[in-house]
Amino acid sequence: MTPKPEIRKAARLPLAFIPPGQEVRLAGFGDEIDALQSEQLTAYGLAESRPLRVLQQRPMTVILADEIELALEHAVARHIWVEKDAGAGQG
């Protein structure tokens, strides 16, 4: 009998900490993101469990969400929580 694969819970990290080139999933917005900004980010297509690709972190966080390239200040990216796909390497 094949043992069940271990289910790893993914850690939540701030988007600002993710190295360029990595793909992550949006886990949620922190309380520091106010309602207006949260609405704005949602309008850009940032929604829970959507995949994002980090393109760069300096001078600002630049991500690709679907086909939308977005630049976010670290003050915002620090409060956007993301998860690496469970079981994914450091890649």
Partner: protein, 648 residues
């Protein structure tokens, strides 16, 4: 779902920013509106008759990031939705970003107005491997859906053909039970107390619950003293959701859009990013971004400052006007006009031809032409929004974010238009600071060209000193303004549109449109200014002003006393004043040239931009800015006079 055809009513183009609404508008009406590759090009509603149906009026609305409306440009779109007798909505969406497009569709659908969805930039979607099953999407939405490439004219025939088949779309979602109950309660109250002639009460209820200020104002006006009844229902909904009703509704629309998009999109695997994406990433790269920016600035300087302001001005002013036209016209007037003062008014030192037309056509026209071409190329390339990323840290020092770089750069084209564009900024504080800095330290294209032409012919050092002075003043004034004006800085979140190869035809059209504006606005003002100078001279007032201004102009600024005339001209347009200094360049040493240009650049902008400041920020604020700016310009000019004499 029934097809609607109501004659003599409006067809509204609505959609997200930078999805090609204005290109489509131009294609469908023939009317040209400014088209660029950055969000926020359109900040006001434009209307024109449709080519395909002379009874139809098309409206190009500012792009909305989302609805309910928040920013000034979104509010302008909301006002159009509320107040126009709408035949149908044409939602223009970005084919490669279908999820986002459908989030807006989910809200527009609730308004119960006949709709057509144009999925524009279909070519870019295909290049990225995004394939949309259009018939399936049309079936799901219950409205005509078409693939278009507005820049190439693809799909426009089908689009105009589909307008007669516009349908009221079905709802994309049912909100959660609590939200649906809130919507039903508010919708019922709106239907009873403030029914809209063509927008559904349910749609207005969703917008009102989401906090749309324009809808609230409309309802308040319509419902009158019964409005508190509607307001109380919203307060109850806000209380239930801990003030997160807008976010809850937006999230649920986004989820519905996600689900629908996933069912109609196929993605072809892509091995590597497109060349345009790679270039876009290099432009904002931490290492390569600044060298690329310097390279771009150098190319613009070579094209505008060297080719336009030196080569073309030399050909036009020295060879054509001074060499051929002016002597010929002077000879003609001397012979044909018997009255000496009329002859002098035409061809004297302050002659309408020898000064007014020569300044406008020989000195400024070649400079603004080259500038508008260079600017048009940059606008269409997608480079300007990327500047906001590079400039963000610098702008943080003056209480702004990088988004303010757009109006600032647009100000280098025309401060008047840039003042209007400050509507893309999110807070009144940001707009106030930016309008002030535009009025103070951002030279328009004509003035910039004169500065580059005059100082560039002296030395690169002169250009550098002027540039550092302007940046220094901009930063210092911005820093002080950000400390004095209450409010907090908003961190930057901005979309970076794809880098695109500019289309020559669009750059030519934009340049021609801007030159037309220049010729219509500037030449009359130059002629009026010249006539005023002539009249002041003849009445003996100008010499008196020159004498009176001597302590300031000669003593403090260290300029020849005749330079006073240039500052008098500068009150009408600062580029007119700058041209006055340019014309007396031979009489100025390098320090005087730099000090003169610094002072006149910091002067109040042209009369048209002053009117725009009044329109955007009110008379009191505009006058306060003028009262600050004029003495400040002379103060800084004098400081540089002292400083440069000490070190240069």
């Amino acid at each position: 779902m029934t097809a609607i055809t109501a004659p003599n009513s409006a067809i509204l183009l609505v959609g997200h920013p930078n999805v090609g609404k204005s290109v489509l508008f131009h294609r469908l009406t023939g009317a040209y509106v400014n088209v660029s590759n950055y969000p926020g090009t359109t900040v006001e509603v434009t209307r024109a008759s449709a080519r395909f149906d002379r009874e139809a009026v098309l409206l190009d609305t500012p792009g909305v990031l989302s609805l309910p409306s928040r920013s000034d440009d979104e509010r302008a779109t909301m006002r159009a939705l509320l107040n126009e007798e709408t035949r149908c909505l044409v939602q223009v969406g970005d084919a490669k970003n279908l999820r986002r497009t459908l989030s807006l569709t989910a809200l527009l659908a609730e308004l119960d107005v006949p709709m057509v969805l144009a999925l524009n930039m279909h070519d870019e979607a295909t290049a990225r491997g995004v394939i949309v099953d259009i018939p399936a999407l049309a079936e799901e939405l219950g409205i005509p859906v078409l693939a278009t490439v507005a820049t190439g004219g693809d799909g426009l025939g089908e689009l105009t053909g589909s307008l007669g088949h516009a349908r009221r779309p079905g709802a994309l979602l049912h909100y959660d039970a609590d939200s649906e109950a809130d919507i039903a309660r508010v919708g019922e109250a709106i239907g009873r107390l403030a029914p809209h002639p063509h927008l559904a009460a349910r749609g207005l209820a969703i917008l009102y619950l989401g906090g749309d200020a324009e809808v609230a104002a409309w309802l308040e006006e319509k419902a009158g003293d019964r409005f508190p009844e509607i307001k109380a229902l919203r307060q109850a909904a806000s209380h239930r959701t801990a003030n997160r009703v807008a976010a809850v509704l937006a999230r649920e629309r986004s989820e519905a859009a996600d689900a629908l998009a996933a069912s109609v999109i196929q993605r072809a695997p892509r091995s590597s990013p497109l060349l345009a994406q790679r270039i876009g990433q290099y432009v904002v790269h931490p290492l390569w971004g600044i060298p690329i920016l310097l390279g771009v600035l150098y190319l613009v300087y070579q094209f505008v400052g060297v080719f336009g302001a030196t080569t073309l001005v030399g050909l036009l002013e020295e060879d054509l006007f001074e060499g051929i036209l002016n002597p010929a016209f002077t000879d003609f007037v001397t012979v044909a006009v018997d009255v000496p003062w009329i002859a002098e008014m035409l061809v004297g030192p302050y002659g309408l031809w020898t000064m007014g037309m020569t300044y406008a056509l020989a000195l400024i026209l070649p400079i603004v032409t080259t500038f508008f071409i260079a600017f048009g190329v940059l606008e269409d390339s997608g480079y300007l929004p990327r500047l906001s990323v590079i400039a963000n840290r610098l702008f943080a020092l003056i209480g702004l974010n990088g988004r303010a770089v757009l109006p600032m750069v647009l100000g280098l084209g025309c401060v008047t238009m840039a003042t209007l564009t400050t509507r893309i900024l999110h807070s009144p504080r940001e707009r106030l600071i930016t309008v002030f800095l535009l009025a103070l330290a951002i030279p328009c294209s004509a003035q910039l060209g004169v500065v580059l032409g005059m100082l560039g012919s002296l030395s690169f050092t002169a250009v550098l000193i002027w540039t550092l002075a302007m940046v220094g003043v901009l930063m210092l004034a911005g820093f002080l303004a950000s400390k004095l004006i209450p409010g907090r800085r908003i961190p930057l979140v901005t979309e970076l549109p794809p880098m695109r190869l500019p289309i020559a035809g669009n750059v030519v059209k934009k340049t021609a449109g801007r030159l037309k504006w220049y010729l219509i606005e500037v030449i009359p003002l130059f002629l009026i200014g010249t006539f005023l100078m002539f009249a002041l001279d003849k009445l003996g007032v100008l010499p008196a002003i020159i004498e009176a201004g001597e302590p300031l102009v000669t003593g403090w600024l260290g300029l020849p006393k005749e330079a006073s005339a240039a500052f008098v001209m500068g009150f009408l347009r600062r580029d007119f004043g700058a041209t006055g200094l340019f014309a007396m360049a031979d009489a100025l040493n390098p320090i005087q040239a730099v000090v003169g240009m610094i002072t006149i650049t910091l002067f109040i902008p042209c009369f048209a931009s002053l009117l725009m400041m009044v329109k955007e920020r009110g008379m009191k604020t505009a006058l306060a800015m003028v009262v600050i700016i004029v003495p400040f310009a002379f103060f800084v000019g004098g400081l540089f006079n002292l400083l440069l004499h000490a070190v240069w």
